[in-house]
Each structure stands twice: as C-alpha cells, then as structure tokens.
C-alpha cells in the first residue's frame, strides 16, 4: 500500500474508521428522489453501498435524512462520506445511521482531482485529520 496524497480534513462531523473504494458524485445530491435506499443506487445507477462517497453536499427535501437512514437499514450505507459542505439533512442522517462524515473544504478540488486520476484509488481515514489516497 502506497500513500499517494494526504488531504486535510476541515471538520469531523461523525468520526470513524473508513477504508473503501472511492466514488465521486460531482453534483449536490438530493437523497430523496435521487438515491434508492432499497438498492443503494443513485439515479445515475452508481452503487454507493460500502464506498467512500465523495460529493459536494446535499440539497432538496428534508426526507433525505430518512433515505440515508434507509440506506443503513437496507444494508447499502456508504462506508463513509466526504463532503465540501454539510447541511442539516445530511448531518442528521449521518448521525442517525452512524455513517462517518467528514468535511473537506479547502482541498476538496485536490481530493476529487487525485481520486479521479486513479480510478482504483482507495480512501483511508483513521480518526486522524487527513484523508489518505492510497493504491
């Protein structure tokens, strides 16, 4: 395992260990309407269960909190989530479903760029202040 890059975490909302393949969604997600909790798939047919889900943030209906909880209930919760901005819908969902949630603000673009470059990259975080991109 080789560390390719370390990205600074700006804020830990829900802490936890997370080592999983990264999936990037490059727009704000409305969990209600765009993610199916029964299948763990987004409307673009991306499976997010067990992944490190990287996305800018959430938008839309507050029912989104229940959908995040539903992902956990149906066994399709992401291993952790890294966002640029966290709003109440997402924070409440992450805490209730016990899904680690981190905010990477300043180096978000860096993170996305590096993960995209090597599709097989894996993100690892261990209660530290950095996201490590490894191969």
């Amino acid at each position: 395992m080789r560390v390719l890059r370390a990205i600074r975490i700006d804020k830990i909302i829900v802490d936890g260990y997370c080592k999983a393949e990264a999936v990037i969604i490059d727009h704000k997600i409305s969990f209600f309407g765009e993610v199916n909790p029964r299948t763990g798939r987004t409307s673009e047919n991306i499976y997010i269960g067990g992944k490190t889900l990287i996305f800018p943030g959430t938008r839309g209906s507050t029912v989104g909190t229940y959908i995040i909880y539903g992902l956990k209930y149906y066994g399709h919760a992401p291993a952790c989530m890294i966002v640029q901005e966290a709003e109440p819908i997402l924070i409440a969902g992450a805490i209730l479903a016990d899904i680690p949630l981190f905010i990477v603000k300043q180096e978000y673009e860096e993170l996305v760029k590096h993960v995209k470059k090597k599709e097989q990259s894996i993100i690892l975080h261990e209660s530290s202040r950095e996201v490590l991109i490894v191969e």
């Binding site: 804020k11 830990i12 029912v63 909190t65 229940y66 209930y73 209730l96």
Partner: protein, 398 residues
C-alpha cells in the same frame, strides 16, 4: 475558517443538564437525539441550545418517507422516545375520513403504523399544516417547526422564531426540548433587506401570485408594504406560495408582523403591481370554462374559512363547473359533523380530512385542476405533473 482548521468541531456551550442528557443519563434515545441537535447546531455556528415551546413534526406521509421513515419512527417509539414539549403533526397521505374519491388509500395500513408510532411518542394527532391554529405562538417564542408554510406563518405573522426544520430534526427537538441557537432564532439574523411595495388590493389569487413571485425572485428577507391590512387567509396563501418557490421562512408584512421581531436594514426597493403579476403568470391563470377538479385548502382551511366557504357553496352549488375538493384538519372536521354529512350527499363537493394531495397519491389524474393556492399550483405541477391553473375562489365558485 480558523475554528475548523485543527479538524475539531466548533464547540457549543452546553449546560450541565444538557451534558447529562448527552452522557446518556436519560437513556440512549434522548442522548442520540440531542447529539444530532448539537452536531447540526455546531455545523451552523450555534453558540448554545435553546428551549422550545412547541415542535411541529412534518415528513410523516408514508408516500414520502416510505419504509425507512416508518422503521425510524417505530424504532424511536419502541425505545421509549417521548415528546417533552407540546408537539403537533403534519398531514398524512390518506384521507382520515376515508371517503375520498381522489386520495388513494393504498398506503392506509402503513400510514396508520406511522400514526401509531407518532402517537406512542405522545405527538398530538393533529395531522394538519396549521399548527398555529392549535396553539398560536407568541412573539419571540422559540419553536422547532417543520412544514414550510407553518414556519413562514410563525415567523412572519406571529413574530415567533423558528428555522425551516426538516421532519426528523423537529422530532428530535421535541424529544429533547432543545434546538440550536442559529439562524432565525437570533434577532440579528432576522434582518430585512428588500422592501417590496405592492399598491393594489390583495385577494386570494394576487396573494398567491405575489408569493410565487417573491419565492422565485427575492433571495433576502423581504418586507411587503401593502395599502391595507391583509386578511389572514390571504397572508397564509402568500407565505405558503413564497415558501414553496423559494426558501423563505420570514417575510415581514409592514404593520402586521409584530414590531421588534425583526431588524430593518433595507438596501433595495422594488415596486410590483397586480398587472405585473398577471402578466408574469398569464399562462398559469385559469381563463374560465370547465375544470375537472377545483382544489381549495392548501394550506388547510381554518374553521372560519371552511364555514364561510360552505355557506357560499350552499348558494352557488348549481353553478359549479366541476368537482370541488376542500381540505381541512381533523379538528375542523369534528366541529362540522352535521354540515359534513349534508355535503357528503352532494357528489360535487368533497371534503378531505388530515391529508394533503401534495404528499398523497391520486386515484385518478384530473385533466385540469384549478386552485387559489400558489403552493398547490407549484407542487401539484412539480410532483404530480398535473395541469394546474390559478383562479380566485370567487371565480371558481362562480
């Protein structure tokens, strides 16, 4: 943002009592509920928690929340979660009177399970979007309300303080009795930036149009200057419409919103007329003729409104050009039992109770729906993809 540079969450001041709850001394359910409130508050920059007097829980329609929502509510209820403050509930996805020809009762069983979980937590079975009708808030009082139209009424009409909370957070606030001190809970955030001068008379349809327009065009907190004091039913339609097309939670109405519940800091003035509004929404306004359904009661009709509408309908019944659906809270239904029985015999008028077509499923798809509500217009088009036109109640009834 230096407070987040070291990777630690910004800390909020908590009282020993709150620390005790977080530590689990009143059970893990309450601890987890408070943890959510604290975390959301920290993310929003809140300095402390504040006690609330009334929580209003939205997001309880099974059509919307589905199995995950039901399981979440059941798990809370089974683990002993209970409200600690007066708590009301939003409309469900079924007609609680069970007589509707419009509202599909397919999720009856599931919705009743949702209701059972809510009632087990001691949430009042009010099932209405008018929580202020059951307990009118006082100026400056802190609330945790879901349901955008109710939030806008609480802040703008009553001068109370609440953000637009989601259903889950309002529920967790109800269980803990606390909400984070951020956003509209703080006087300095209730800052009016835009003055909107409207010089014509306000009625139901112009209130809806003005609301839709404000929601679509104004981002900051506005103040509306009207020539005369508006009727409460028109304020309801205006605020509900603005809260649907925009994210408004406070719209100050000059000489109506209690003074000192907002700060004037106006740097932009706009004048808009009835003519401008009718021109902007000309394609959405009903031009007359037949309709398959007229929908009145978004937000729900109060007892006074319902009473005056059924009086009017008694006189104009033969002139109706299509079916008319009136939407009311269970409380109003219980007040008008005799009148409802009379109406039931007349197929052209239908009254639905404790539900909301926006969060329900329809038994059939009406061709043309007319409504005086900008909120119903917006959501029935967006969520149900129906052909909806706006009209005043007077035009609809004839």
């Amino acid at each position: 943002m230096d407070q987040v540079q070291d990777g630690e969450a910004q800390l909020m001041y908590l009282t020993p009592e709150q620390e005790r709850i977080l530590g689990g001394e009143e059970g893990w359910v309450k601890a987890k509920a408070l943890k959510v409130i604290v975390k959301v508050g920290e993310a929003l920059g809140a300095d402390k928690l504040i006690m609330i007097r009334h929580a209003h829980v939205s997001g309880i329609s099974y059509t919307n929340i589905g199995e995950p929502g039901l399981k979440f509510l059941e798990e809370l209820a089974e683990n002993g979660a209970e409200t600690t403050v007066y708590t009301t509930s939003n409309p469900t996805c079924i007609d609680l009177a069970g007589k509707s020809t419009l509202i599909d009762q397919g999720y009856l069983e599931q919705q009743l399970l949702v209701n059972k979980a809510l009632e087990k937590m001691k949430i009042k079975p009010t099932y209405t979007c008018l929580p202020y009708m059951l307990r009118p808030p006082s100026p400056h009082e802190h609330l945790a309300w879901g349901e955008s139209n109710a939030v806008a009424m609480a802040n703008s009409f009553y001068g109370a303080r609440t953000n637009r909370e989601g259903g889950p957070i309002a529920l967790l606030a109800s269980i803990t009795g606390y909400i984070y001190n951020a956003g509209l809970h703080r006087l300095e955030e209730r800052r009016v930036k835009t003055l909107i001068k409207y010089e014509d008379k306000l009625d139901d349809i112009t209130a809806s149009l003005l609301g839709l327009w404000i929601g679509e065009n104004i981002d900051e907190i506005p103040m509306i200057d009207l020539p005369t004091t508006p009727r409460i039913q028109d304020v309801k339609l205006l605020l509900a419409s603005a809260a649907a097309t925009g994210s408004h939670a406070l719209i100050v109405i000059k000489d109506l919103t209690p003074r000192k519940t907002y700060i004037e800091d106006i740097d932009d003035k706009i004048t808009i007329s009835k003519r401008d509004l009718f021109r902007t929404y000309k394609d959405n306004i009903w031009k007359g003729g037949k309709y398959s359904l007229a929908y009145i009661g978004c937000p729900h009709l109060s007892a006074t409104e319902f009473h005056s509408i059924i009086k009017l309908l008694e006189k104009k019944r033969d002139k109706l050009r299509g079916k008319i659906v009136l939407s009311i809270p269970p409380l109003v239904s219980s007040m008008f039992q005799r009148e409802l029985e009379v109406l039931r015999d007349k197929n052209i008028i239908e009254v639905i109770t404790g539900t909301c077509p926006v969060v329900a499923q329809f038994k059939y798809r009406p061709d043309i729906i007319v409504t005086n509500s900008g909120k119903a217009f917006f959501y029935l088009r967006k969520l149900h993809r129906l052909d909806v036109r706006l009209a005043s109640l007077n035009n609809i009834i004839g």
